[in-house]
Symmetry: C2
Subunit: 223 residues, 2 copies
């Protein structure tokens, strides 16, 4: 694999996810056209993506869902184990520490960080907690590659900078705040639960108004 564009890898991971669904639904064969309509790009893009990753298909023919899933696992190195850490041991960070899901899937949580010494000394966790100022040092020493970012606004960019100084490679940003990487080799993605709930709420409001124009939750005039 060389010089594979980032969007190709992201779409390949989406394809992999669909194939997990297909496996549960016992679907055996899948075409690039079917994948394309579920992912929202053209079938030609799907074929090009798979070809860039080194998986060849015959135009018009269908892929074996099982074989395609196995090929993607290998080509994307999805079986690899990586150490991870949690930054910010508030409610969300504690939930992630306790959750155990990441450990089950090969992303062992090896450390937690918080700026509050009281939290570090009193919190009961399976994983060792460290003060925030040791972040770069511990990430480097423990060879931690992934971080789950769960800090308040004012600590978000500071934490990202220190993680990168320690050699982190990927950050999953659970905060509603935008953070920037100062290194091209560090990947950051964002999970914004509140945004998703807000969008559902807006969709409900819009469809309710379409049903009955008399029922408006707000005065619709502009401020």
């Amino acid at each position: 694999m060389k010089q594979i564009p980032q969007p190709t890898i992201e779409r390949a991971c989406s394809i992999y996810n669909l194939l997990l669904d297909f496996e549960r639904e016992n679907i055996k064969l899948v075409s690039s056209a079917e994948l394309s309509s579920l992912i929202g790009v053209t079938a030609a893009v799907i074929r090009k993506d798979l070809s860039l990753i080194g998986i060849s298909g015959v135009s018009g023919a269908r892929y074996s869902a099982k074989k395609l899933k196995q090929d993607l696992e290998i080509r994307l190195a999805l079986g690899i184990k990586r150490k991870s850490c949690v930054v910010g041991i508030g409610k969300l960070g504690s939930a992630i520490l306790d959750f155990g899901l990441f450990n089950d899937y090969g992303f062992e949580i090896a450390a937690g960080f918080d700026s509050n010494m009281n939290t570090i000394e009193t919190k009961k966790t399976v994983v060792k907690l460290y003060p925030a100022f040791q972040m770069a040092e511990v990430v480097r020493r423990e060879k931690i590659e992934l971080a789950f970012l769960c800090v308040p606004a004012k600590a978000a960019q500071f934490s990202v900078d220190h993680l990168i100084d320690g050699g982190i490679r990927g950050i999953l940003n659970f905060t509603p705040f935008l953070v920037k990487s100062k290194s091209e080799d560090v990947f950051i993605s964002k999970i914004d639960v509140l945004k998703e709930v807000r969008t559902l709420s807006a969709l409900i409001s819009a469809s309710t108004e379409q049903d009955s124009n008399s029922r408006r939750p707000h005065n619709g005039t502009s401020l």
Copy 2:
């Protein structure tokens, strides 16, 4: 507001989210071109979206970030309060119940559901827990509009069907499983944390191989 397409509402919510970032960064003015590059559609699409929602802009001129945010809040009814529930009180469901974030933002959690009577009787939670078979009844009685779905695979579609029977309007699916709505008036979106971590891991692998072809985590041959 009438007949606004769903993608328009989803993009408007993304714009709203960007404006929250801009507010924190103290950015006062924003053009449709700037919004378009951050959202990944053309500036014409952004202007059309805003116009469909009832917000007019002058081509080439910039929007006041603060005014646009306020207008979106009103037009999308983002200030509305909705009752929510958690379905599946395992590790993730408990974390969401305890988290408190949704309550803070107007999506008060009014009930929890689980199929395990032992969980319902022994778990200590702020919110009242009910057995799964009462889901439709409680959702209807309590006027719950949103659900956070945190159940195992075999209970996912069953739970969605019962929530819809009770009149739910939006479901945030935290499971890695695909669920389907039997009603057009019910909106379902998915948060797949494992998928995000897996994608970060694949991006790291690909960039590492590009740096040094000698370091391959897996044998690259096809199965």
